[in-house]
Amino acid sequence: MNLEKSHKRYLKKFPWMDRLRGGWAIYKQNLLGKIGLSLLVMFALMAICSFIPPLIDPMYQPMTGVDPEITKSTGPSLRHWLGTDFMGRDLLSQLLAGTRVAFLVGVSAAFMSIVLGTAIGMVAGYMGRFVDTFLMRLADMIMVMPTMLVVLMLAALFGQLTIWTIVLIIALFRWPGVSRVIRAQTLSLKHRPFIEAARVAGASHTRIIFRHIMPNVLPLSFLYMTFRVTSAIIIEAALAFLGFGDPSTVSWGMMLQWVWKTGHMFKAPYWLLPPGICISLITLAFYMLGRAMDEVLDPRLRKEAGTE
Amino acid sequence: MALLEVLNLSIGYHTQKGYLHAVEDVSFSLEEGKSLGFVGESGCGKTTLGMALMRLLPPNGVIREGRMLFDGGDLLQKSDEEMREIRWQKIAMIFQAAMNALNPVHRVHEQIAEAILTHNASIDKKEAFEQVEELFQLVGIPKDRMRDYPHQYSGGMKQRAIIAMALACKPRLIIADEPTTALDVIVQDQILKEIMNLQKEFGISMIFISHDISIVADVCHDIGIMYAGKLVEHGSREEVFSNPAHPYTKALLSSYPTLTGEKGQLMPIPGETPNLIHPPSGCRFHDRCPGAKAACKTGEAVWVETSPRHKTLCYQCGADCGE
């Protein structure tokens, strides 16, 4: 016994790190995943760089900085690499600031809706009976409401929405899809022998949900999160394009709105194309990330890579 | 001449982690009308061997070496076209867990008739159904249950239907891969008797694969014991059971609880089955063998004949090893 105690144990604090490494090994082999990840790294760099231009010169403030020498939209030049908009604001700084907003909106809205959806799905699936019925009816009701329309109505009611309100609305309206998937997963887990083993050991419902069900549905939630990011970015862009964006921040959708409103749609490709391409690319990147994650989470593949 | 003669067969799989040596240097022969049983722990290459004989290995499987002489011709030299004719017509297989592969939306007898029709172009639909009726009678499925759907069958009946399917073309060789695993004892007993009777009645040769040594003991004339991709002992049933030579066979036999005789202590085989991507050097059993000597780790095990119909692959057998 004493010998036993003095023996140094090889209990890893974070054994799941190994699995992460195994997952990364699979991910690395996926071409789509690599492209997606590279794109995301690029956008992340852009978002970080968005702080630089205003430091160089106040005229590079994306929203308020105006080049005093320019009064109309101009094409790319040394001074303005991507050109300026109708008021002489720098397009590159706007594009970079837009990246930041896209990440902020996309990731936080997706994160919130996933947290909501996962929690509700697990509770509905695990508790069953009327809790399940009630939550799923609610989900159905929200699911049939077109998010866009609701947001537009709210915007019409309350005037301009701040970026955080938009995030919140997207989160509140986008959980039902996730919760349905998580509920189905929970239902299939609920009667698995390992859950029953926990019940035999005397585990409480909360413990079973958080300790045994949650780790098994989280990978799926995470997968859905990557797809949700895509839809959140698109919703925000669409809102901004329709003129309901947060007026204190520049987003890509807003840039597009300005092109449209000032009649530069067909005259200034240097203005129209960058935000358009960025929106397509970032949504594509998250989509590719999701696809690759899908493969990482595939238990058959995981087994191959995991066994010694 | 033997109906089937397998010489120095080596089979492997290409996997992400490297080449897996699933079957290595296996040779045996099977006479017309006889049955040969392969026993070994799961993962020792039994299914792989059976699939290779049917030339139905998955795409990442390769037959690296060896010959499989069936009825005088080498199966490995046959074209895909020729092989398709041999399958079912001459060699039929009862796949592991095949009974769960019956299509739930079609009636059982239709599925069997379908199989007959695809492998035998010379008969028409009506004849095929007549044949099915005969076959079902043969394997003991009552006539009035013929038109049922698979889910209406019990496990034993499904397995009977699968056996009927294998018999459909009156093959000369049947390869049965764990045909009774997952069945209850009583049903298992009935199916085994059925298989034995049919085999005797039609003089079909059979290769019977199982992880359960007691079943093979009841069914087969000859027994081959496999360990980690190698055939380690081969001989007549009586010889192998009354006079096991290889330490692994002895270990297998003493790890199996029996109903009769002394209720002794079971002696499980210590350790785990080896990794076949990097198989152990020398004798593959050396790290679990109670009688292993230093030489077993390095030297190549050799075939020792303990009697004319009984041989074993062991470095030091003959001198009584494993004691």
Binding site: A197, P215, G306 | F241, S255, M267
Partner: protein
């Protein structure tokens, strides 16, 4: 064998009836009612390994699940140490979960794929708030060694998919044993494993009994495994108790035609010709009512049609603590078996 003389009962099932209703094809319709257990009474004595033997669907698992409270009986009572289980609440219930554990049939399904071996085995300790981190580590290490997962260092950080079937079942046994329970239900713990690995698991279970004085309900479909492990054996068929007695009585001198059929069906290691056959099984089932008469009547070769098809035989003691539910257990039928 090494049984205590006082023979205290630890678990008692009393007239247990368990029914399942399969859901009907349409909404609201009730499907068939399946009687999984029909008035079963069993007393399991402290320290013994009690074997429950039967074909699949005979109700073995159901009995085990009732004992660990994963299921509730429709009728009858279950007692642990003389105390009825049905009404347990709060602390008493928690205490119950400490004392009664289960090992499940399929080790590929009974371990949480997302928990490491250490987390899995220490889980019951955490649930019952036993010891501090270090005590728990000690307990896990000790238990792992006693189930043959050694050195534990090699295994604690692994996940189920990195273990073989036999190793997984050892982890499952360790999880059941770590709380030092009084009673463990082992539901066909080796049916998914190879014969050679099964023997390892059997020996571990026997060691557990010696080491921890635990009582085991060993559920199996194999009489030879039951013979090796168990002190007493109960044979059940379609939820009915058929025969109950010491392992030697049931296997050496079986009295029920069904038990005899089970023994006949076991592989004989190529000795079929030399072994005595009881021959009590009809090759083709005969027509029989589901609800009347002896449950085994449809397949029983030695049945007396006039009696067996109408009346249900009761469990009767034939000789010393050897119970059989057959009219002709003692002297055979007129056909003379």
């Amino acid at each position: 064998m090494k049984m205590n003389n006082d023979r205290e009962t630890i678990i008692e099932l009393e007239h247990i009836v368990k029914k399942y209703t399969s859901r009907g094809f349409f909404f609201g319709t009730r499907g068939n009612e399946i009687i999984a257990l029909n008035k079963i009474s069993i007393k399991i004595l402290k320290g013994e390994i009690f074997g429950l033997v039967g074909e699949s669907g005979s109700g073995k698992t159901t009995a085990g699940r009732l004992i660990v409270r994963l299921e509730k009986p429709e009728e009858g009572r279950i007692y642990l140490n003389g105390r009825e289980m049905a009404g347990l609440k709060g602390k008493a219930l928690k205490n119950f979960h400490r004392k009664v554990q289960m090992i499940f049939q399929d080790p590929y399904q009974s371990l949480n794929p997302q928990l490491s071996v250490f987390d899995t085995i220490s889980e019951p300790l955490v649930i019952h708030k036993i010891g501090n981190t270090e005590d728990r580590e000690d307990a896990v290490w000790q238990t792992m060694k006693s189930v043959g997962l050694s050195p534990p260092d090699d295994f604690v950080n692994r996940y189920p998919h990195q273990l073989s079937g036999g190793q997984r079942q050892r982890v499952a046994i360790a999880r059941a044993m770590v709380l030092n329970p009084d009673f463990v239900v082992a539901d066909e713990p080796t049916s998914m494993l190879d014969a050679s690995i099964s023997a390892q698991i059997f020996n571990i279970l026997i060691e557990m009994r010696e080491k921890f004085q635990v009582t085991l309900l060993f559920i199996t479909h194999s009489l030879s495994a039951a013979r090796y492990l168990c002190d007493r054996i109960a044979v059940i068929y379609k939820g009915n108790m058929m025969e109950l007695g010491s392992a030697d009585q049931v296997i050496q001198k079986p009295r029920h035609p069904y038990t005899k059929a089970l023994i006949d069906a076991l592989p004989k290691f190529g000795l079929s010709g030399k072994v005595k056959h009881y021959n009590t099984l009809l090759p083709v089932e005969r027509e029989a009512s589901e609800h009347e008469g002896c449950p085994f009547f449809a397949r029983c070769r030695v049945a007396n049609k006039a009696k067996c098809s109408l009346e249900r035989p009761l469990l009767k003691e034939t000789d010393d603590s050897h119970w059989v539910a057959c009219f002709y257990a003692e002297n055979g039928t007129e056909k003379g078996f």
